[in-house]
């Protein structure tokens, strides 16, 4: 145990880090289990939202208690991950759509629901 760290903080951070990694693992399992490319895109987003969220909250609590002052620059990681993930996913899905279109499969709904 790290000196100067109360037990409850150690337990809490351990639970949060474990929860975050389990969620990320589940996302990865989803990536493996789903059959179509478009379904697969969804699974890893668990890791980039709640998964990373739990780990970062654990980090905030741990270092805030250890240094006896609020440490929360982890928020920046959350912001940048949230802002940049859509770009990657959008490019991936668009590339897949383009490939499917070339192969003669058109996924675009012909009649937009309105």
């Amino acid at each position: 145990m790290t000196p100067g760290l109360p037990d409850w903080v150690a337990v809490l951070t351990a639970i949060l880090v474990l929860l975050g990694s389990i969620l990320t693992l589940i996302g990865t399992i989803g990536l493996l289990r789903f059959k179509s490319f478009y379904a697969r895109v969804h699974a890893p987003t668990i890791g980039t939202t709640l998964g990373i969220g739990c780990v970062l909250i654990a980090s905030i609590i741990y270092f805030s208690v250890l240094q006896s002052r609020p440490v929360f620059h982890e928020v920046l990681i959350m912001i940048f991950v949230t802002v940049t993930t859509p770009i990657t996913l959008m490019l991936l899905v668009k590339a897949a759509l383009h490939r499917d279109k070339d192969a003669g499969k058109d996924h675009m709904p012909s009649h937009p629901a309105d």
């Binding site: 789903f34 939202t49 929360f72 920046l76 949230t82 993930t85 959008m90």
Partner: protein, 161 residues
């Protein structure tokens, strides 16, 4: 003032970013962060990005809470789908007609939709105002259209337009 700070939102964000990174509110860092904020705003203005004004801070906070709750909820839903013995019944594309036109509002909507597991932003046809998303657990198309429109689009229009 507008000449020096052409993008106030960006400049405030840059200053906040600098202070957060350095974990300090000392006058030196505030000054340095201020210089970076002004320089960053001026640099972006050479790209001739459309300007934006963000209104109603209360609406922003409310939307943030709604989104946070939805992220947690859809995380649980997708986790359940992954761990279920049978794959999801049906996943597919949904077209949503949007009234939203502000670039920044659309970018925010893209972040929201992609951050909630189970939905991914695919493309937006700005001429027709049609948004295409992919939904993992697609049961009813019209519920998704209603959900995006009432839950997010209305709030974003209130904030950005």
């Amino acid at each position: 003032m507008t000449a020096l700070v052409p993008h106030p939102v960006l400049s405030v964000f840059l200053l906040g970013l600098w202070l957060l990174l350095n974990q300090s509110l000392s006058p030196g860092h505030v000054l340095l962060g201020g210089v970076i904020a002004v320089a960053g705003g001026l640099a972006i203005s050479t790209l001739e990005m459309p300007r934006t004004r963000v209104r109603k801070p209360f609406a922003i906070v409310r939307l943030a809470f709604v989104v946070l709750l939805d992220i947690v909820r859809s995380n649980i839903a997708v986790t359940r789908i992954i761990l279920a013995p049978t794959p999801p019944a049906k996943s597919g594309f949904v077209t949503i007609p949007l009234e939203l036109r502000d670039h920044y509002a659309l970018a925010t909507l893209a972040c929201i939709i992609t951050s909630t597991p189970g939905t991914v932003w695919v493309s937006f046809d700005s001429a027709k105002g049609l948004l295409l998303i992919h939904v993992l657990d697609l049961i009813d198309e019209t519920t998704w259209v209603q959900l995006i429109k009432t839950r997010y689009e209305r709030a974003l229009m209130e904030i950005f337009e």
